[in-house]
Amino acid sequence: MSLLEVSDIVVRFGGVTALDEASFTIDEGQICGLIGPNGAGKTTLFNVISRLYTADSGSVRFGEHDVLATPPHKIAGIGIARTFQNLGLFPSNTVLQNVMIGAHHRTKTEFLQAMFRTPAARREERETRELAIEILNDLNLAHVANSPAAGLPYGTLKRIELARAVAADSKLLMLDEPASGLTHSEVEELGETIRLLRDRYDLTVLLVEHHMAMVMSISDKVVALDFGRKIAEGTPSEVQNDPAVIEAYLGVEAS
């Protein structure tokens, strides 16, 4: 059985139909590329799965969970983590704290334990910190750990967001244009990193990206959207050669 199953999702904003009966599935352990021109509805789909937007109809199943019946703050708890296209960091917190916040749903300390620093609270705090440091090391971010997130270079911020999502220890990792704003060599490195993370943390990855070379090289499968509809689904080479996909891209942006 597939891990994620998106069925007939429809989302409308006034006159705009951002998603039009979009359906696809991802198997456990896969890296699934989600491509499509700007405005195709990719981010909207992420927002539906994170429960930030409400779908007009359709359903999303994740493992045994009915995602659309899960409140937004419990999505992390069922094992879905994500990054944001326009960065969703906490600028006044340090990088280390940002990553520790990623582990929020896995930890338990509440008001009273925190105020009185009970032994359990201290242990948990230490463990969370060690975990975050480990991930920061994995992603070559240890040197900025104590800087406030505000003011770091864009490429670094993108990696911090990735680190934070990894700290959630999720089953599904949704990355919204992680390579945007990165230099050419950084993009290649990012592709490697994503694969590495998938293997080390047993992740399934849903990857939105415009950087075709990277998507095609690391994805096990690719789904293409245009105007909210799925126009192709298959292996990277199938999708790459699909006439509808070529048309969608050529029609919008002649490259």
Binding site: H73, F90, H104, T107, T109, E110, A114, R117, I133, A142
Partner: protein
């Protein structure tokens, strides 16, 4: 001049901090013995205001929610103590947990509807609470003494306690409470909960996707902040031995806010500076003119927000940064 760098956690850093705190502790302990009773009383009051500012800071500085109802919460704590001691002759110290509980519950009652929407409406609703407090207290005059207020007889406190006169006793009582409350606040801020709250303030929607439930944290920090204000208010009742509706008007709420802005929003030590400011600026300003304090506060709030939003503490840190750099140790995997 070569700049020194001090790394947190090293023995050098620890000894500097230890010496600093020891000196501060010495000053705090000696103060009531070298100052007059009235001066001691003034510092006690400054600490009470500092606790009020601290409580507002937990809400506004940490979670970004604004409250103009903290004058009412402070007043609620004060009235709880005055009524229990004055009317029902309770032991004053036992009224503190009651005041804490009452204001905590009240905080939840405000916090729950408040979290339905953004700060704009919260400002509005708490403003209404701040303004409504005085007439509501007047309305229930059977219990509150109405416009006349309600007082605690001086004799509920012994003349001399462990060799201290009443001013000194109250001073140390408030100091102890202040130390504990500041420590609790600091622990909370530097924990999973504090991180969740500041994350929510910085960027609420992503915070939600990390599993942070905004409703829960907003309500609880509102209630905790209310409780801190309530305890400060109860201590105020110890010191002033009187509660009147006109002591807890919107002006007090704005004074707390001014203390917060002056000290530095979001900082803990700033609250102490804010408390001193609230106590001493009006005291000296009103010798010149009754309205001067308000004008000074109003102008200072605006000027600081426009030019130096980090407040006095931010300025102190900037100056300090010219002389020494305080850095965190590098992060290494162990």
């Amino acid at each position: 001049m070569a700049k020194t760098t001090i790394i947190r956690g090293t023995s050098q850093y620890r000894s500097i901090v230890t010496v600093g705190f020891a000196l501060l502790g010495l000053v705090v302990i000696l103060l009531p013995f070298v100052m007059s009773g009235f001066r001691t009383f003034q510092f006690t009051m400054a600490l009470l205001w500092a606790l009020g500012v601290l409580s507002l800071n937990m809400l506004t500085g940490w979670s970004g929610q604004i409250s103009l109802g903290h004058s009412a919460l402070f007043g609620l704590g004060s009235y709880t103590t005055c009524i229990l001691v004055g009317t029902y002759e309770w032991n004053p110290l036992l009224t503190i947990p009651v005041a804490a509980l009452v204001t905590f519950i009240f905080g939840i009652m405000i916090g729950i509807p408040a979290l339905r929407l953004a700060g704009l409406y919260l400002a509005l609703m708490t403003l209404a609470i701040g303004v409504a407090f005085t007439p509501v207290i007047r309305r229930f005059k059977e219990h509150t003494g109405g416009s006349m207020g309600i007082s605690i007889k001086k004799k509920v406190f012994p003349e001399e306690i462990v060799g201290l006169n009443l001013d000194q006793y109250l001073y140390f009582l408030v100091v102890i409470f202040a130390v504990v409350m500041f420590a609790l606040a600091r622990n909370l801020l530097k924990s999973r909960v504090g991180r969740a709250i500041t994350a929510m303030r910085d960027n609420e929607i992503p915070a939600q996707t990390m599993g942070i439930y905004p409703a829960r944290y907003k309500t609880l920090i509102f209630a905790t902040s209310s409780m801190f204000a309530g305890i400060a208010g109860a201590l105020y009742a110890f010191v002033i031995r009187f509660s009147a509706p006109y002591s807890f008007t919107l002006t007090l709420a704005i004074f707390f806010l001014a203390g917060l802005v002056v000290g530095g929003i979001g900082t803990l030590a700033g609250a102490v500076l804010g408390g001193l400011f609230i106590q001493f600026v009006p005291y000296y300003a009103e010798e010149i003119n009754q309205s001067l304090a308000g004008m000074v506060f109003g102008i200072i709030i605006i000027v600081i927000m426009v030019t130096a939003p980090t407040g006095v503490l931010g300025l102190i840190k900037k100056v300090r940064a010219r002389v020494v750099t305080v850095a965190d140790p590098p992060v290494v995997r162990n």
